[in-house]
């Protein structure tokens, strides 16, 4: 009980709508709501800040709740994250990303898309 009160006091300081701030996502492939034709999807996310790649992650969530981390591909630019996923079945997917900009700000988000035929 005491612990929960103490946490409430901590939360007093937190704007309830506060979310992580930047790096912000500028462009995404696939775009939110896109229908990707085929079994394979190439993913490319472009941000407004240079990223620390060691702390940048992507994972793919399937409709049954299973998730799979995606391996990041090496790219020349520090503002781009690239990956791909293959042998995907038809249906809805959620791409979750989490990044850390070099100035120490973290951000996260998700992109919903479908694999269609």
């Amino acid at each position: 009980m005491l612990k929960s009160r103490a946490f409430s006091i901590l939360l007093l300081m937190c704007p309830s709508s506060q979310a992580f701030a930047h790096a912000s996502l500028l462009e995404a492939v696939p775009q939110p709501g896109a229908v990707v034709v085929g079994n394979n999807v190439s993913i490319e996310l472009r941000f407004d800040s240079r990223l620390d790649p060691r702390f940048s992650q992507m994972e793919l969530l399937k409709s049954n709740g299973d998730s799979a981390p995606l391996a990041l591909q090496a790219v020349d630019s520090q503002i781009i994250l690239k990956s791909k996923s293959s042998e995907l079945k038809e249906g809805p997917y959620v791409l979750r990303w989490r990044v850390l900009s070099v100035d120490g700000h973290a951000n996260q988000g998700e992109i919903k898309f479908r694999i269609g035929r």
Binding site: M13, P15, S16, F20, A21, F55, A106
Partner: protein
Amino acid sequence: MQAFLSIYSVIDWILRGVSATAQTLAVGGATFFLLTLTPLKLGSRRPALERFCARLVFSSASASCVVQLLAAAALIAFLIGSTGAGLEIAASADAVSFHLISAGAALALACLVRAAHFSKPRALFALSLLLVGSHLGVTHAASWMESSLSLLMAEMLHLLALATWIGGIPYFIASLRMIDDGDERRCLARRFSITSLASVTAIVATGLFMAVPYTGSLERLYQTTYGLLLGSKVVLLIMLLCLGAINFLAIRSRRRDKDPINRVPAIAEVEVGIGVIAILCAAALASSPLATATEAARPDAAEVSAHFQLAWPSLKSPAYAEVSAAQPNAAVTLADPEIANRSEADVAWSETHHHHAALVVIVTGLLALLAHSRRLRPIAQHWPLLLLGLAGYLVVTADEEAWPLGKIGFFQSLTIPQIAQHKLMIALIAGFAFCEWCVQSKRFKSAWPSYVFPLMIAAAAAFLLTHYGHTGRKEEVFIQISHTPIALLGVIVASARWVELRIGSTTVSRLAGVVWPIAMVAAGAFLLMYRETV
């Protein structure tokens, strides 16, 4: 750990704000010594003055070191918790390295002034540069899309100029208080005003240089959180320039009978306060997505003008039975009431009670103004009781889903962040209103309780200016547009009241005594225009 991760961004903002303030004060002390004190021929007070300045630089550099270490530890814990990285990898993150270099530079600066005071000016200058330079690593300039030396240099100059001006003011105030000789005080003041003018020029030039790529267009100044925060900083800078101009004229004045230089320290104290609020705004800016990167959430000019079109305030509240919280089967969204589906009755309820509160604030300001009249003072001096009444009114109406009207009990409501924030604000209003009522009716023998009112108003204004999230919703921008003028008027209320209290009976203090109630009325008028979106 989950709790820590969910509030990390707020902890990070607080630590960045505090470390930037401490760093500004530490570097400001070094530049004050190098640029203002060193060239002057001061009499017997020089050793005592230098000892005082060295102590202040030591304290602020030590604070900067501790806070930078805390920021590094918090980021390491966040990275371990959120990405599953090991301690060694988390500690090697770029931003962690910059926090640690900053901590090292601050520690070295503290040790230098502790051991040798200001006898090694070159080392003092080099460590100050290192402290500011390492801070660059956690700014937008460091994470800009392409490495940009010009942006880094602009940021460096901006921070140095800020420290030289705002960070130098506390040392300037102390010097004016410690030096007795009128000519020496005048020379010191002239010297510092020249340094300050140069610093202001550098701040404006570098600020403009960085604003162009970070903002992208003029429209984004009112369409994005970043733009509105930047606008707030510009208004704070204008306030600082006005105060600086008053002090500049006082320093240049040739009048010797009522020496205007005597009022300089009090106005400089206000400059420090506004400067700290500007630094907190800068910390919020550093966390905010750049205006150029904000696309989805931007309301266009037509949406902004439609949202804020002039309309009569709504003073008739819907019955409580009509609002969602009173419906027996209504699912009250507790997790985030801001995004809950709100009915028209909910919006009308909220707007009406905002407008009632606005009327109370307007009447309070008018009474505070009338309290200057000898005939009306016996009644008008009790104006703080209106704010006490407002606190009671807000307890009942601010969160209709919670006690005393709603189904959520009082203690349970404190676990909901938004309601807890409201309750904290209400408690603060009640506290400072009661304190100010005691001050106005001369119930305190000591002078310090009279400063509670301006300090609390300044703290509330700083919170209102900087507390926005970055959830990418247009409503957030509308809320920020509504709150920003009220917060800036709060800064004027706090500043003018402080000047009135700190300067004896003079024209300036009498003017300040009229300005703050008028600013309060203006804040109430802005609150009267408060609108919500369904």
